[in-house]
């Protein structure tokens, strides 16, 4: 579904990603973890072409994102992305936020988009808030609307960049529940997260980044109990207080 081949990303002369290769299969739930500033967000944004790689190739569903003649808008409409700060459009109602891309990108009719929006709002438990504006929502509600907004494009892959980091524990659970439901529906997901419980319980692969490199890739069980790299062990010991 996603194939990343030896990508590099540098800002000016600062390396953010160094020689990262990875593969994600259809239906897989990947948790991306690692210390702050190690390049997790950049990695995610390279996958849907929001950032350009300096070197290397990325394929999504057989199409090369990194090729110069790729229609990135098309790829982005098939790869949803959800951000830490929700980034809803403040001048549009909840429903308008969701209807925007289907109408403007997929060119479907407003009435069809309306139905899709209402169905998705129901799915994320926000049906009663369709006519509110983003500023009237709590963080957890806003994030669920942001997820619905991405889903409205019927993406094949969903990228999440620390979707719960700006939320309190109760709201975090609301959003995690929505994401678990998505996982059960078979969505391919890459989730940058600090929620180790989510990584452990829901993910079927962990990618651990440190200092711009992909250090380790493993199933959660193996990753948390029998990590191969000394850098991973150090991270698990110091950050998660695990004995490995």
């Amino acid at each position: 579904m996603i194939k990343v081949e030896k990508i590099y990303k540098a800002y000016k002369n600062f390396d953010v990603l160094i020689d990262v290769s990875a593969q994600v299969e259809k239906g897989q739930i990947v948790a991306v973890i690692g210390p702050s500033g190690c390049g997790k967000s950049t990695f995610l944004r390279c996958i849907n072409g929001l950032e350009k790689v300096s070197k290397g190739r990325i394929y999504v569903d057989g199409k090369e994102v990194t090729a110069p003649d790729t229609n990135l808008n098309k790829i982005r409409s098939e790869v949803g992305i959800v951000f830490q700060q929700f980034n809803l459009f403040p001048h549009m109602s909840v429903k308008e936020n969701i209807m925007l891309a289907p109408v403007k990108v997929k060119k479907i009719s407003k009435s069809d988009a309306d139905q899709i929006a209402m169905a998705l709002l129901e799915k994320v438990g926000m049906l009663d808030h369709a006519h509110k504006y983003p500023e009237q929502l709590s963080g957890g509600q806003a994030q669920r609307v942001a997820i619905a907004r991405s889903l409205a494009m019927e993406p094949k892959i969903m990228l999440f960049d620390e979707p719960t980091s700006a939320l309190d524990p109760k709201m975090t659970n609301e959003v995690l529940d929505t994401m678990k439901q998505l996982a059960q529906d078979g969505m391919t997901m890459i989730v940058v997260t600090h929620e180790m419980s989510f990584a452990r319980e829901v993910a079927n692969k962990i990618m651990f980044f440190s200092q711009s490199r992909l250090i380790e890739e493993a199933a959660p069980d193996k990753f948390f109990h029998n990590p191969q790299s000394e850098i991973t062990r150090e991270f698990l010991r110091s950050v998660l207080k695990l004995e490995v």
Partner: protein
Amino acid sequence: MSEFDIKYIVESLPYIAKGIELTIFISIISSILAFAIGITIAFLRRTDIKPMTKLMALFVELTRNTPLLIQLYIYYKGLPSIGLNLSPIACGIISLSIYTGVFISEVFRAGINSIAHEQYQAARGLGLSDFQTFRLIIFPQALRIIIPPLGSQFINLIKNSSLVSFIAVTDLFYVIYKGAVDDFMFFEMFITGALIYMALTGIVALLTNIIEQNLKISGKAGSI
């Protein structure tokens, strides 16, 4: 100095009205064009076509930092020499539109830059094109922020339009000045003129306020 001659003003009103008409005409047309020019320059300056952004930046600097009066003469004397014979009114409108358009582009640029980059990423992440993102996400949010400075630019435009009298356009300033000089009615005409300009700019200020009230943003721009 004789006393203030109201009768003279009343008698001159039909003549002054002609000047008001022309000033309003020039101001409205120039405002519309300046707005379009302002958006266009602002949009072109945020593309990643380097020669285009450089050229626009240079044009903005040249226009912003030279007197409007000189630009007016350059268009007035220069355009015929490249085969474009336009009326003085047209030349006045062109120079006012470009001059104000450049200032408006800077107002837009500040407004656009104040919209968080995350809004741009969220829109592009959904598959919207660069232009759609500008038109549907960035611009509507920026517009709400820039209404007051935009209003000031239109007010400046009305005041600056008085310069077109230098190329023999019979606008409000021209008729005022002519009355003042020909009939020695300096006070009468200049004070009347000042009041009329104040009324015109006052209308724009009022409109700006009304539009601003009606466009009240629902949500803090960019933060959610």
